[in-house]
Symmetry: C2
Subunit: 358 residues, 2 copies
């Protein structure tokens, strides 16, 4: 039997409910495939602020680093919204990404045939969409220095940040982009703003250079403003998109909304080595927290990504993905993806149904 240690970071809002469901699914699928798990639960975000006064306690990071993979629920809530920067739940998440050095964030946006009506796009535009955004996650304007506030020559307060990429930072995320495209449909679209920004010119230069290592992958370039349009106009043109941290933040959220069911979308954040970080792309939904209304499927599918990308356990991953589809086929729906003729269930009941199908 293979044995892995998983760090659970439930976080805030609906985080604990969805992580609890996903953990059960992981354990069951694992045990069927001969895998055993040890779990350590640690605080992050608002939950950590409440117990430890910081959004990422040192112990949380060290436990996470020593584990084989990290499963995160969600962070944030009204209570901490006006905190200063160092004490924002979000800062804990950024510190975790940096601390784990997970520079590659994979965000699939797949329109499931069962849920095509949930999209605000016309059926013929939405159906069949199956794209992956590969977002650089530990560089760019999120982490660039110098940053801060200063007083300019006119005596006015200014706020500033630095968008910066080095060649090696672009090279490694470009390779993840090409590898991902190779495993999918062989098409990579690199998104930048190279008609204006030097950081993007370097990006385009390096991505083009790295493409020679992947002659089997078709590379195109697109400006970010055009990409934001094309995602709406004709999303099926995209297979794999690779882009920087801030453009990836914006475009992956736009892409996820194409599916109309962001309660279904997982993500994986991977580094060169060390544990990966797996989380649903949706937020902590404080308005429905603790009411057994949350959709746990994004977290369940994150656990499938954890198995596939984090542990190399593809068979167990597939078992979970199949179970989710089966559960949808049986008509079970949480409120966010409910449509007439289906069976409305809560978070726990949805979990039970997936367990049955596993």
């Amino acid at each position: 039997r293979r044995r892995y240690t998983i760090t659970l970071l439930p976080g805030d809002g609906i985080g604990p409910e969805i992580v609890s469901v996903a953990k059960n699914v992981l354990e069951l699928a694992g045990s069927i495939e001969g895998i055993e798990f040890g779990f350590k639960e640690m605080p992050i975000g608002g939950a950590a602020l409440d117990v430890a006064g910081v959004p990422l306690p040192e112990e949380t990071l060290s436990v996470a680093k020593e584990s084989d993979a990290v499963l995160l629920g969600a962070i944030g809530g009204y209570k901490w919204d006006n905190n200063e920067k160092q004490l924002k739940p979000e800062t804990g998440l950024l510190q975790l990404r940096a601390g784990l050095k997970v520079f590659a964030n994979l965000r699939p946006a797949t329109v499931l045939p069962q849920l095509v009506d949930a999209s605000t796009l016309k059926k013929e535009v939405a159906e069949g969409v199956d794209l992956m955004v590969v977002r650089e996650l530990t560089g760019g304007i999120y982490f660039g220095r110098p940053r801060g506030f200063t007083t300019n020559d006119n005596g006015e307060k200014t706020g500033f940040n630095t968008e910066v990429y080095s060649s090696s930072e672009v090279d490694r995320i470009a390779r993840v982009g090409f590898e991902t495209a190779r495993k999918r449909h062989g098409k990579l679209c690199s998104v930048d703003k190279a008609n204006v920004l030097e950081a993007s010119m370097l990006w385009r230069e390096r991505v083009t250079e790295i493409s020679s290592e992947y002659p089997d992958v078709e590379l195109t370039h697109m400006y970010v403003d055009n990409a934001a349009m094309q995602l709406l106009r004709y999303p099926k043109q995209f297979d794999t998109i690779v882009t920087n941290n801030i453009f990836g933040d914006i475009l992956s959220d736009e892409a996820s909304m194409i599916t109309g069911s962001i309660g279904m979308l997982p993500s994986a954040s991977l580094g060169e080595s060390g544990p990966g970080l797996f989380e649903p792309i949706h937020g902590s939904a404080p308005d429905i927290a603790g009411q057994d209304k949350a959709n746990p499927l994004a977290t369940v599918l994150s656990v499938a990504m954890l198995l596939r990308y984090g542990l190399g356990e593809g068979k167990a991953a597939e078992r979970i993905e199949t179970a989710v589809l089966e559960t949808l086929n049986k008509g079970f729906r949480t409120g966010d993806i409910y449509s007439a003729g289906n069976k409305l269930v809560g978070c726990k009941e949805m979990g039970e149904q997936v367990l049955k199908a596993v």
Copy 2:
């Protein structure tokens, strides 16, 4: 009779065809309303590179500065795509914006009932959308210094840019946002990434401060990733959006695609004083240039914005806008907005029809 001097900058691709139509419409609508125009045509973009070796000749800028308003067609084309930065057509446009100090870019995205089917969004989501993006146009990461390329401590090439805003830069664009919202439906949504970026924290701080001058306008704040989602999910929630240069570039393009007819969308760029810059939001469409296929209506509607925002000639503006709607009601359509049952016309014929309606 009032008299104004207008600088015409046809630019590249379809630019000359659409500017020529819009000029005729401007002259006719003006003469009916007792306005006379003098025109000066100058080169910009690729056209300027070809004749003068730079994308914005000094004389083009000085003529533009001395006129009452500037009408731009479009810039760019394959021929100049691989030019170095200083010799890109885009650089000419950025220099023009900076030279005219037009810091406020107004980009309406309106779904016309006649064209609601052109949207890729479901009819019930698209119909009634009528929003305005107020984009900061002469600051932020587009112009921030330091910028460029350098070699880092590891001896690697890096590319970097600076996102920076001063209080007064935010204050003046915020005021344009509030004034615009006040004339519309009284709702302003300020978009930033204040959970991560200091430049955005300053942005939010200043917009909030300025809001006390506009107690009649309802201010909300939204993170840019969420805004990219909400534009797709429920675009009718937005009235006026105010945001920085790069977020405005991305979100205004996304918003324009909601309408499904970017060949219809005008824009206005305004400064504290001096001439405004008016242009369609679409590009130079080199693939259909010179074939009499382009849709001139975005440029015609830009001329309406020129009259209203640039010259304070609201009556002539309305005359043009009404003529455009009438022409659509009669069923005339260029290829980009054609649907069965309508009359397919070219650029020139569309211009003739608008002239008739004026």
